[in-house]
């Protein structure tokens, strides 16, 4: 039996009295993230330097107790939930932007920097970090990297892993290593930074990140295309790419999502149809005009009932804001209902998007659940919102069944259970089915780096 008081004393001596806690109230608060999972930590610490983190990890190794890194706890997969107890290491005190090197198109940040803060600073200089999660106001860069996150503009700009050049990591042994390169490209050795992208804190703790940045595009426009048929909307996406256009964002809102938005924001001018596609194009003013016109043509040829082009900033912001509130609107709409983040991140090949949308509707009907679906159709990533009365056990039973069926359907269509939110505990049960023998490879890697299995154990089925 480990002596908790002894460990706590040691933790306090590493991070300072005010940055360590085993207070019951604190432990309860750090038992959650956005997911419906819960797990009580034994300690919570808020270190201030990589060296302190290294000391904590060494201590955890000595006592063989779990270490759970945590950013903002905005993850939807239970990644930061201490399901096996242990030490939660909250990284939000490491929140400095250490270097902005616009000439070399890169920045160096600590892991606790909030995504929106980074982009606010970069915007002042005319640059941006293109990954754009809906959780920009809360997500930390460390959490974003660790969950392999992305956002609405991944169709053109890619995902977090495409922007990670170099990482400083505290390994499970407590050693501090730097992986990757400052050079804009490198063919040297294994691609170690990518090993840690999406590792969900199971292989080490990210304490610094060198990220690629880009100059901000001069102009943007939005094309809205309304369809009376999901299939046609799906075809319009395929035809747009075939026409040689890569929009910077490509979102779909189905009827359920449009109705939700309309109820939440009644004054918003938005059509209620079977499917609405939002194409964002960016670039030079002349370039975006031409691309928007071509998208309009493609959509009309594919059977759009109405196409609108929004170039004014007000209309543009209003429409993106509407897209941003869909998920949330589902909770706000009905006084008895709360959205539960389950099966909320499925991703399928683009051509299967209409099929999975229909399947989700069918599952909703079968269980009598109104599922609002929206997502990044340009990258096949959908966010079905399951909304239930969380005080009703029967509704929970239903929710688990719906979640199972939606995620199984995504896998059957050649997809994955998660496009950007990560596996954590929420989707661990699907890992074997999704990865087969590759799962064994993951276990080998995990064991090699973390023989005592102290780093975020139980996550990603590891």
């Amino acid at each position: 039996m480990v002596d908790k008081a002894e460990i706590f004393d040691k933790l306090k001596s590493i991070v300072g009295e005010e940055n360590a806690s085993m207070d019951e109230a604190v432990l309860r608060v750090y038992s959650y993230d956005v997911s419906p999972y819960k797990g009580r930590p034994d300690f919570v610490v808020r270190p201030g330097t990589p060296e302190e983190i290294a000391e904590i990890v060494k201590l955890a190794n000595q006592y063989k107790i779990p270490v759970i890194p945590r950013g903002a706890g905005s993850g939807a997969a239970g990644g930061a939930v201490p399901v096996n107890g242990g030490i939660v290491i909250e990284l939000t005190r490491l929140n400095r932007i250490l270097e902005i090197d616009t000439a070399n198109l890169q920045v160096v940040v600590e892991p606790g920097v909030v995504h929106a803060t980074l982009n606010k600073e970069l915007a002042k200089l005319g640059y941006f970090f293109p990954v754009d999660p809906g959780s920009t106001d809360m997500a930390t860069i460390g959490g974003l990297i660790s969950n392999g996150g992305s956002g609405m503009r991944s169709v053109k700009y890619g995902v977090t892993r495409d922007y990670v050049m170099q990482l400083e990591i505290v390994l499970p042994s407590g050693e501090i290593v730097t992986v990757g390169s400052k050079a804009p490209k490198s063919a040297s050795g294994y691609d170690l930074p990518r090993l840690f992208v999406g590792a969900e804190g199971t292989l080490g703790i990210i304490t610094k990140a060198r990220l690629k940045i880009l100059p901000m595009p001069q102009a943007k426009a939005l094309v809205l295309a309304a369809f009376d048929d999901l299939e046609k909307a799906g075809n319009a996406v395929v035809n747009t790419f075939a026409a040689g256009i890569v929009p910077s964002g490509l979102e779909i809102l189905d009827r359920s999502a449009l109705e939700a938005v309309k109820t939440y924001r009644p004054n918003l001018d938005i059509p209620i149809v079977e499917a609405l596609l939002l194409f964002e194009v960016d670039g030079t003013p002349a370039g975006i005009r031409e691309e928007a016109a071509r998208i309009e043509e493609v959509c009309k040829n594919t059977g759009a009932v109405k196409v609108d082009i929004a170039t004014s900033k007000e209309r543009f912001d209003e429409l993106w804001a509407a897209r941003a509130v869909v998920g949330a609107a589902t909770t706000a709409l009905n006084p008895d209902c709360t959205r539960v983040y389950e099966a909320e991140d499925i991703t399928v090949p683009i051509t299967n998007v209409p099929k999975i949308l229909l399947k989700i509707r069918e599952i909703g009907k079968k269980y009598g659940m109104n599922i609002v679906t929206f997502g990044h159709i340009g990258s096949g990533n959908l966010h079905p919102a399951l909304v239930i009365n969380v005080l009703d056990d029967d509704e929970w039973d239903k929710l688990w069944k719906v979640s199972e069926e939606i995620q199984t359907a995504a896998l059957e269509m050649g997809g994955t259970t998660t496009g950007e939110h990560g596996i954590g505990i929420a989707r661990a049960r699907f890992m074997e089915a999704e990865h087969g023998k590759a799962m064994e490879l993951m276990r080998v890697i995990k064991k090699a780096l973390d023989p005592n299995n102290i780093m975020n154990p139980g996550k990603m089925a590891l």
Binding site: E24, A25, R28, V29, A72, S135, D137, A328, T338, R339
Partner: protein, 365 residues
């Protein structure tokens, strides 16, 4: 109360968006001192049988109820209401904070939270109720006992504009600090009775307040409607803006100054009034320069919700941040429309002059 609180608590999906706007989390850092953490704790206490310890109580009672979290909350979880309900549950279970209990007892005993024995009208002994008036002035405890110049300025402004006014008779604390800290507004019925009485005697059917907190409480929390009594409650800035707009009050002064304005949480986010104070100030020809956080995203001064009383250090850190924002605008003067905000910000401002807008008006009329 628990039955009312549970459905509101479960509205929070714990997304953490409030992390970016919670003034106490910003200072303390630990998640239990932010809105999401407080919602979790409230749930643990009222749903999951958690006997709150000192940290839990400090977390719940240190919310300034500034409502900034609600403003950004995608699920529209009513954090300030949940905090007030949870505090009420805790107070009823004998777990309220001692400083708040003492304040409650002072209001019960003296009708004000400041332990003041002085008569309400001490600063205007010559006052006689007029036979006819248009507005009733609800002065509030802070202008009466702490920032008296604001009360005097309010009167001076009304007099300068020839607005016939009367005091709401025999005022007691509006009850705002009681409601915010988990108590019942034991003075509400008394104050409503006095407003009705004053209206009957003077004909004044508009009540104006200096204080954003009194305004929110009387207009938003009092069961005035239930009394079937038609009375209009306005913040002084609204009353003046309204009449300036109608051309009934004319300001012929041009004040060549750069002004920045702090939206009091209880006037702005709680009651949705952002423009009235600005319109009044603009009538003086000043240039208004906004802070980084203004209007809907105004940063709390740190004093509300009983926090200044129970956690003065926390309040001080928050206020200093707000003062810094005001300084960064390069304004000549830092104005607000709430005596409690002004009192608090002034105490934490070394270089920049902090005033209530009525003081600015009285000086420039």
């Amino acid at each position: 109360m628990i039955e009312a609180c549970v459905p509101e608590v479960v509205k929070c999906v714990r997304c953490g968006k409030c992390r970016s706007v919670c003034p106490t989390l910003d200072v303390v850092g630990w998640d239990n001192f932010g809105s999401r953490g407080r919602m979790i704790l409230s749930g643990e206490i009222i749903k999951n049988g958690f006997e709150p310890n000192e940290t839990a109580l400090n977390s719940i009672f240190s919310c300034t109820t500034c409502k900034h979290c609600y403003e950004v909350c995608p699920s529209k979880a009513k954090v300030p209401e949940v905090m007030e309900m949870t505090r009420n549950i805790l107070v009823n279970a004998g777990k309220g904070l001692t400083s708040h209990r003492k304040m409650y007892e002072r209001v019960e005993r003296l009708g004000n939270p400041y332990d003041e024995h002085k008569d309400r009208n001490w600063w205007m002994p010559e006052y006689k109720e007029p036979e006819e008036a248009e507005v009733q002035y609800f002065v509030g405890c802070t202008p009466t006992y702490r920032t008296n110049d604001i009360a005097k300025s309010t009167v001076a402004v009304m007099d300068a504009f020839n607005i016939p006014w009367a005091f709401v008779r025999d005022q007691k604390c509006c009850g705002s600090p009681l409601i915010r800290t988990g108590y019942q507004p034991i003075t509400a019925e008394h104050n409503i009775d006095r407003m009705i009485e004053t209206a009957e005697k003077t004909g004044a059917e508009i009540v104006v307040t200096s204080c954003a907190g009194c305004y929110k409480t009387i207009k938003g929390d009092y069961p005035i409607k239930a009394r079937e009594f038609d009375i209009e409650v306005m913040h002084i800035s609204q009353y003046l803006a309204d009449r300036i707009k109608k051309g009934e009050l004319v300001i012929d002064k041009e004040v060549n100054m750069k002004v920045t304005f702090h939206d009091p949480c209880h006037l702005g986010r709680h009651m949705g009034e952002y423009e009235a104070p600005r319109e009044v100030l603009k009538a003086f020809g000043v240039e208004i320069v906004e802070m980084e956080h203004a209007k809907q995203s105004s940063w709390c001064c740190g004093a509300g919700g009983g926090v200044r009383m129970a956690f003065p250090d926390l309040t001080e850190s928050i206020a200093k941040k707000r003062v810094k924002e005001a300084e960064d605008t390069g304004a000549d003067i830092f104005l607000s429309a709430c005596p409690f905000c002004v009192y608090n910000l002034k105490e934490n401002s070394e270089n920049l002059d902090v005033k209530d807008m009525v003081q600015f008006m009285a000086e420039n009329l």
